[in-house]
């Protein structure tokens, strides 16, 4: 056990955390503040922070173009939920199989799964576009789900694989002696005790899909546009409507932030549990 840090140590930890907190939160605070400011006040040098510069007009304007934002939100929700659901439904059993069964080539399989994370999206963007257009999946939510799965599924498998490895094998052996089949062991023993990491992984996959911009830009036109794309359209050719863009962005990130705040303890527990379990 390490002793308690000294007063100076504690102070420097607090200072470090303070700087980190400011670094992380300042853009978000600026996002919210600027979403409440008039365009002139925002673009003035220096920005005009007088009370009269603040307005809810940006939100009203965004609401007026609700069709685009509403469609974007619906698309994002459908794509993110579907991606998350499929990634977990496929990834969890795959991770369990890789963790527990002595499969031929499971080492190389894991390495390949990791390798998919090692190159930037731009590398596969053009081949992905060609494949999707041949399949007739350009500007479709299904196309986006398939593409998002290609990077979410490996992450899900990797995170859960580590956790499943940490589950004491005795539990599964006990269940086998009790008469459970492999599927029953997975369903009745492994899944219920893995709820925190599965939940944390689900949130992670959801946020990844919700925030994704690059592939959505390439693979969608109008119908399947997700929220990040809708927001970007507030930047026009001749003028960028900053206030409205920020208002739309605030509305888009709010669900994710709320989810993260509500479930922060489960998320923390999920990601740390696998590390300490013996």
């Amino acid at each position: 056990m390490q002793g308690k840090p000294s007063k100076l140590g504690r102070l420097s930890i607090q200072l470090g955390l303070g700087i980190f907190g400011f670094w992380t939160l300042a853009p978000i605070a600026w996002l919210v503040v600027s979403s409440l400011m008039q365009q002139q006040a925002l673009t003035a040098t220096p920005p005009d922070f007088s009370p009269s510069a603040f307005t809810f007009q940006n939100y009203v304007e965004v609401m007026n173009s609700a069709a685009a934002l509403g469609r974007g939100l619906a698309n994002s929700l459908i794509v993110a939920v579907s991606t998350t659901a499929v990634a977990l439904a496929v990834g969890a059993p795959a991770a369990y199989a890789l963790a527990r069964f002595q499969l031929p080539g499971s080492g190389p399989i894991l390495l390949m799964i990791l390798a998919t994370q090692m190159f930037p999206g731009i590398v596969v963007a053009i081949p992905m576009f060609i494949v999707m257009s041949h399949l007739g999946l350009i500007d479709s939510r299904l196309g986006l789900v398939i593409v998002y799965l290609s990077f979410n599924l490996p992450i899900v498998i990797w995170i859960l694989h580590g956790f499943f490895l940490a589950i004491p094998v005795g539990l599964e052996r006990a269940a086998a002696v009790d008469g459970a089949t492999t599927l029953q062991i997975f369903r009745l023993i492994v899944l219920p005790i893995s709820w925190p990491p599965i939940f944390a992984t689900a949130i992670f996959a959801f946020i990844e899909s919700w925030n994704e911009f690059f592939f959505a830009l390439i693979l969608t036109r109008q119908n399947a546009q997700t929220v990040p794309l809708v927001i970007s359209q507030f930047a026009g050719q001749y003028q960028t409507v900053f206030g409205q863009m920020m208002a739309a962005a605030t509305m888009a990130v709010t669900p994710v932030v709320v989810i993260a705040i509500i479930f922060r303890q489960s998320i923390m527990k999920g990601f740390t549990e696998g590390m300490i379990k013996s």
Binding site: A174, A175, A176, V177, D178, G179, L188
Partner: protein, 361 residues
Amino acid sequence: MAKVELAAVYKRFGTLEICSNINLVVADKEFVTLLGSSGCGKTTILNMIAGLEDVSAGEIRMEGRVVNNLTPFERDVAMVFQNYALYPHMTVAENIGFTLRLRRISRAEIEKRVGTIAGLLELTPLLGRLPSQLSGGQQQRVAIGRAMVREPKTFLFDEPFSNLDAALRVRMRSEIKLLHQRLGVTSIFVTHDQEEALSISDRVAVVNEGRVEQVGTPEEIYVRPVSRYVARFIGSPQIDLLDGAIVEESGGTGFRVGHVLFALPQPLVHALRTQGALEMGVRPENVLIADQGTAANVRVVNPVGPASFVTLAWEGGLITARVPGMSRLKAGEAVQFNVDPQHLMFFDKASGRRIEVPAGL
């Protein structure tokens, strides 16, 4: 009830042989312990009997039927694991009833059977608790209850007491023994604790480096170990092994260690003199501190209540004597000792096998 047989069973992981030529017959209703140091392969043997590990070669039979390819459930065995392996998300009642739930037994029947077992193991007030809310001893009883509720043909125990404190461990030994007497179910128990093995078992199988070194009753194992390994493994403190040779000379006949001659009866000397280099094994209870004998100095006195173990330094090294009660001997004190020639053991120095001396010598 079941007879369990292992016939020429091997377990290999790649080129590594974990268990070699295991032959063991556990009779119906018998309580047999697999005893060995950690890593000797005893748990692997148990896992193979349970059906949790495949057998590389050989046969495992239950009631005469080869079960090599049957699942643990089909073998009708129940197992208590070293870390109890209780399902952490289920209550005590759900843990015990899990196996019945898998067999689609009605809820009322499950409740009834779980209730009976809980009553037997004094778990009734704990039925609604989660494993994390139980003490080690209570978790242990739940694990036993989970095994019992099945009414299996064979019980398998994998070091079930190793996580308990000393007092509870001794109490649980008696409880398991009582349970076995009451239920009469064939039981195979794994432990590295020789005292536990001797106190609980009908017979003990000593496992060493993946082989069964000796199978016998606790008395046979203690009094007539087949090898130096078994002799050293059984008994606490360990048996002392003295390096020397059989001599027949004008000064007397016996076993000479350095300048010291331990006198032995003539027929015993006759029986041993054709053997090669020997080691003489003496257990602490057969070392007698006396008025006359070999000179020694008291090195350490370890009182354990009903007796004290006194380590003596003498010409041949160190030797431990068991004296009754709390010894008043002090470190550094000069004493003399003899060994009881009736209870000596002799081992072939090269092979480590005990030399069987004809009865009555």
